[in-house]
């Protein structure tokens, strides 16, 4: 048992190959549809450019919000026992297990001018629904659980005795977190950031329900793909392929980075 593949693993390899084919064949078929001859023109299509820019802009805001809001929660879930932890745990998973359209609808009910929060905001002259803010809120909601889960795993992997050692050596709780907990859980936290970013950048259903489909303000790349496929197939396919390439590069890069980082 030296961990190498052997002929005895034939069945496993076959099933794994089926899985790989299942994932890659449709993506390859899509990429084959890219209008290579007219690619230059499509790359400059305002729909492609604007939606990608909006996606980048919104995720650069939503992912830091996810990290800021999700880290304390992930830490509590990882390192403390408290009443109602199971319930909280289930709540964290909820947005992930619900159809995104439901989550978008819930946000709409909340922030609509007649909704409980929307009416208050309206009184202050703030509109959320069908604005870029709504895009960000939808992304935070859908991406946060992924971050919390990954960061929690990271925090859990830090041996409790190291934290005790740090305290006894005279380091404050905050210093202990920065110097011991965070570096040792970096793998989980970085994975969480990447998963959250991928989920936020790919958010479609809650966004279109809650924020709509307005070029430059709420039409993110996934929304543009959907619209594009209905209007001009080539725009949709080009955009989808760019998203695919970018996601794959980020996921692969992150893995290489994590493997190299000394632990």
């Amino acid at each position: 048992m030296d961990g190498r593949l052997s002929p005895r693993n034939a069945f496993l390899v076959l099933m794994a190959a089926l899985f790989v084919a299942f994932v890659t064949v449709p993506l390859i078929c899509m990429v084959l549809g890219v209008p290579l001859a007219r690619l230059g023109r499509y790359l400059h299509d305002p729909m492609v450019v604007d939606s990608l820019a909006l996606t980048l802009k919104t995720t650069l805001i939503s992912v830091p919000i996810v990290v800021a809001l999700g880290s304390p929660l992930a830490y509590l879930l990882a390192r403390r026992e408290f009443w109602g932890k199971q319930v909280l745990d289930a709540l964290v998973d909820l947005p992930m297990s619900m159809p995104p359209v439901v989550m978008g609808f819930a946000l709409l009910m909340t922030f609509a001018p007649l909704g409980p929060i929307g009416s208050v905001l309206k009184g202050m002259g703030i509109e959320v629904v069908f604005t870029t803010a709504a895009v960000i809120i939808a992304q935070v909601m859908m991406a946060a659980p992924l971050y919390v889960k990954a960061a929690r795993t990271g925090f859990e992997s830090v041996d409790d005795s190291l934290l005790r050692a740090s305290l006894v050596l005279g380091a404050s709780r905050w210093r202990t977190f920065l110097r011991v907990t965070l570096p040792l859980s970096a793998g989980g936290v970085i994975t969480g950031v990447i998963l959250a970013w991928a989920r936020a950048a790919g958010e479609f259903c809650a966004t279109i329900t809650f924020a709509g489909n307005m070029p430059k303000t709420t039409q993110t790349a996934p929304v543009a793909v959907f619209v594009g496929v209905n209007q001009d197939l080539s725009v949709g396919v080009t955009l989808a392929t760019i998203l695919l390439a970018f996601s794959f590069a980020v996921l692969l890069g992150a893995r290489i980075l994590l493997k190299r980082s000394p632990r």
Partner: protein, 352 residues
């Protein structure tokens, strides 16, 4: 100087302990696993809060339930070698050692000086740039010790500092550790489940079981005059509890579970008898010497302990002998062997 007197309700029992360790002295706390040994250290370090009591180091009150004082662990300034060492795996040996001094905001040049000095004392200077995951168990133990003493607290807590080492390394590490503890002159509390460690380190030894101090005293007290079978077993000495008969010809018989043991005791009555395993002789034939106590015994266990072998016997009562490996080989001892075990009346310490 460490002074503590605390009470803490743990899950299965109440920990109740009072002890005092002067600077330069080592107190060995020994007991079976689950006796509350680590909790004693956690209470001193502030990782656990006593229900009641007082902890004082020198003139600093670290905890006093009556005055509602509870100094947080990061301000107690103690050295603590945790079980399995708990070295930071993402820092080099040097960074590990500097960690506590940085947290205490010592000047940069003093940190450099002290860490270099401590590493030199422990012979680990060549490991400065290496990560603790890449060094041996014995080296890790020394790094943990260096980290604990570099910042210069007045109290050093050690939780099973030798338990993670293999037998050979352990032998060497024991001597080194003892030398270092003595040279830094702190009040040290050394927790162990191994009586050999307790004997090697403890100026005084405190035996605890289920949160209570069973006996506290010098090595001699515990070896020669254990107050309970539990202590005797822990210290690896033979212990019998019986009734002495009036002496005849300078020898008195003590009845132990229907067996007679000869002693030099003079007063009749209830007594404890203790004698060292080294004083028990084993032979294949009935011995011809002057030992008054001879028993047929069966070997129940053999245990290598450093350069000697500890032989557990059943002689109608539990008996322990300590032999050289040569003798064990010559007698062909193995579990189930039948031998004659003998010991002199004069080897027995009898006390009430």
């Amino acid at each position: 100087m460490l002074d503590l007197q605390v009470r803490k309700r743990l899950r299965d029992f109440e920990l109740q302990i009072a002890l005092s360790v002067p600077a330069g002295e080592t107190l060995a706390v020994i007991g079976p696993s689950g006796a509350g040994k680590t909790s004693v250290l956690a209470l001193i370090a502030g990782l656990m809060t006593p229900d009641e009591g007082r902890i004082v180091v020198g003139d600093r009150v670290l905890f006093d339930s009556a005055r509602r004082i509870n100094v947080p662990p990061e301000q107690r300034l103690l050295g603590y070698v945790l079980q399995e060492y708990a070295l930071f795996p993402h820092m080099t040996v040097l960074r590990n050692i500097e960690y506590g001094m940085e947290a205490r905001r010592m000047p940069r040049d003093e940190i450099a000086r002290r860490s270099a000095e401590t590493m030199r004392m422990l012979g680990i200077s060549h490991l400065a740039g290496v990560r603790p995951t890449r060094i041996s168990g014995g080296e890790r133990q020394r790094v943990a010790l260096a980290r604990a003493i570099a910042a210069g607290g007045q109290v050093l807590l050690l939780d099973e500092p030798l338990a993670a080492l293999d037998a050979q390394t352990r032998q060497n590490a024991r001597g080194d550790l003892r030398r270092v503890i003595q040279s830094v002159g702190v009040a040290a509390v050394f927790v162990t489940h191994d009586y050999v460690d307790a004997l090697a380190f403890g100026d005084r030894i405190c035996v605890i079981d289920r949160g209570e101090v069973v006996q506290m005293g010098s090595q001699e007290d515990l070896l020669l005059r254990p107050k309970a079978r539990f202590v005797a077993e822990f210290m690896g000495v033979n212990f019998l509890h019986g009734t002495a008969q009036p002496p005849q010809d300078g020898v008195s018989k003590v009845l132990v579970d229907g067996i007679e043991v000869s002693t030099t005791l003079e007063e009749p009555g209830e007594v404890f008898l203790a004698f060292s395993p080294v004083d028990v002789t084993l032979s294949a034939e009935p011995p011809a010497g002057s030992a008054q106590n001879v028993f047929r015994a069966t070997v129940t266990a053999l245990l290598q302990l450093g350069g000697r072998i500890r032989v557990d016997l059943d002689a109608g009562f539990p008996l322990v002998a300590e032999l050289t490996p040569d003798s064990v080989a010559r007698l062909g001892l193995e579990i189930g062997s039948n031998v004659y075990a003998s010991f002199k009346a004069t080897a027995i310490e009898a006390y009430r």
